[in-house]
């Protein structure tokens, strides 16, 4: 039940009792002393300021870390892609990157397989290479990586390969980075030249093996049929290696091992500077190409 004391539709603010009640309800408050809740609000204000300062420092550190991470990531990605484009990544990594980039339409050199041999499957025809001659014959593989120069005279039975940076791999066979002058490799044999070796000319013949280790000098006229002619690290001139079935080795520090055995062993060990006479055969012919 409601008792209406004012006229219907009239302004209630014209009622002095209502005005007085509202004035009393809105009376000003003495604020010289702390108000209820002021200490709590001030504590919250201080805590908020301290938290803001901590957040500011944290944000600054996070921003620095984020920038550093972004720079590092970009450097790694750029370097990885560049290395992949140059084909100098390790075999599996190169293969993986090549596959990934191929999916987005970018062609980079393939990686090497488990044997360290460069893959030739799906090799793009327009792969970057400075090779002047890639005269592939039947059963033979002659590849020249980007940056390699002068891989001439492909092997007939061997697998002439020249990695990036190798120079003067003529006549096929394997030539590691930095090696120079591996000429006239094996026909069906194996002629290898380690990093830093120079002038491994006229390597193994049919079934022969002619190796030149790191730092070796002139290994000319390696093993013939079934023969083996090795020149180890630091060896000097190993010319006219083993003939048929013979073995001619020159170890570290040896010099001038010429005219080696045809059917016997002939070794020039470390520190031996003398020329080694042939065992029982006439001096083999020198056939430099």
């Amino acid at each position: 039940m409601s008792r209406h004391t004012s006229r219907p539709g009239g302004d209630p603010m014209s009622d002095p009792r209502v005005r007085e009640l509202l004035d009393a309800a809105a009376a000003p408050v003495e604020t010289t002393r702390p108000l209820p809740g002021e200490d709590e609000a001030l504590a919250a204000f201080r805590a908020s300021r301290q938290g803001a300062a901590k957040n500011s420092r944290f944000s600054l550190g996070s921003a620095k870390a984020a920038v550093a991470a972004a720079i590092g990531t970009s450097v790694l990605v750029t370097g990885g892609v560049s290395a992949a484009a140059a084909g100098v990544l390790p075999g599996a990594a190169q293969q993986t990157v090549s596959t990934l980039l191929k999916s987005v339409g970018i062609s980079v050199p393939e990686g090497k397989d488990a044997d360290g041999q460069r893959e030739v499957r799906d090799r793009p025809d327009n792969a970057p290479s400075k090779a002047a001659d890639n005269d592939e014959q039947s059963r033979d593989r002659s590849e020249e990586a980007p940056g390699a120069r002068s891989n001439g005279d492909d092997a007939q039975c061997g697998r002439p390969e020249q990695p990036p940076g190798a120079r003067g791999n003529e006549g096929g066979n394997q030539q590691p980075p930095g090696s120079r002058g591996n000429q006239n490799g094996a026909q069906c044999g194996r002629s290898e030249q380690a990093p830093g070796a120079r002038n491994n000319q006229n390597g193994a013949g049919q079934g022969g093996r002619s190796e030149q280790s790191s730092g070796g000098g002139n290994n000319e006229n390696g093993a013939g049929q079934g023969g083996r002619s090795e020149q180890n690290s630091g060896g000097g001139n190993n010319e006219n290696g083993a003939g048929q079935g013979g073995r001619s080795e020159q170890n570290s520090g040896g010099g001038s091992n010429e005219n080696k055995a045809q059917r016997g062993g002939s070794e020039n060990t470390q520190g031996d500077q003398a020329e080694q006479p042939p065992a029982d055969a006439p001096k083999a012919s020198r056939s430099r190409r």
């Binding site: 006229r7 009393a24 309800a25």
Partner: protein, 192 residues
């Protein structure tokens, strides 16, 4: 830049005195509003309001009216949350009146005549229906205009005006002596 804007900028930079000034400019009316509508929940709601205010103080942009409206909006929301948590309806302010049953008409009139204090006036406003009490408090106790009160309550300004008008008429009925229907009857002050 007026004094409020200077104080606000200083408070946003961490000046405690400036913050105290801003606090004292709002807290009394905020407490009255919350206490009238929320009773014992008012202090907790006010504390939560200021926690929210100091947290977002650096982001506030506006004048003094906007500042007041912003704080009361937060306070109104916090009180609603507190009442929802407490699972209770708005309660009366304990100002010597009987909250549960309410005073008899004669008692109300005598109370107004004898104890027309701020607390008793707020207690009478608290007897209004919720929407009317909110509108009367914001319009005539806090001093907001209808649009600002509407922003706090989430209503249109017209709805706020209607609610406030009905609340004032109801207060006039409560304040009238029994049997008196003349609005020109002597006021409480004249009687006392």
């Amino acid at each position: 830049m007026d004094e409020f804007e200077q104080r606000l900028a200083a408070a946003q930079e961490g000046d405690e005195l400036a913050f105290v000034y801003l606090f004292r400019s709002v807290q009394p009316t905020l407490l009255r509003y919350l206490a009238t509508l929320g009773g014992p929940l008012a202090e907790d709601a006010a504390a939560e309001t200021w926690v929210s205010v100091v947290r977002d103080l650096h982001r506030f942009r506006g004048d003094e009216a906007g500042w007041r409206s912003w704080i009361f909006t937060i306070g109104h929301s916090r009180l609603r949350d507190a009442q929802r948590r407490a699972g209770r309806e708005p309660v009366w302010v304990d100002a010597g009146l009987e909250p549960a049953l309410g005073p008899a008409a004669d008692d109300v009139a005598s109370t107004v005549e004898e104890l027309l204090s701020t607390e008793s006036a707020l207690a009478l406003i608290g007897r209004l229906p919720r929407d009317q009490a909110e509108a009367v408090l914001l319009r005539y106790v806090v001093g907001m205009d209808a649009p600002a009160a509407g922003r706090v309550l989430g209503k249109r300004p017209g709805a706020v005006r209607v609610a406030a008008h009905r609340g004032l008429r109801r207060l006039a009925d409560l304040l009238a002596p029994p049997g008196v229907t003349d609005p020109s009857a002597p006021s409480v002050a004249e009687v006392t």
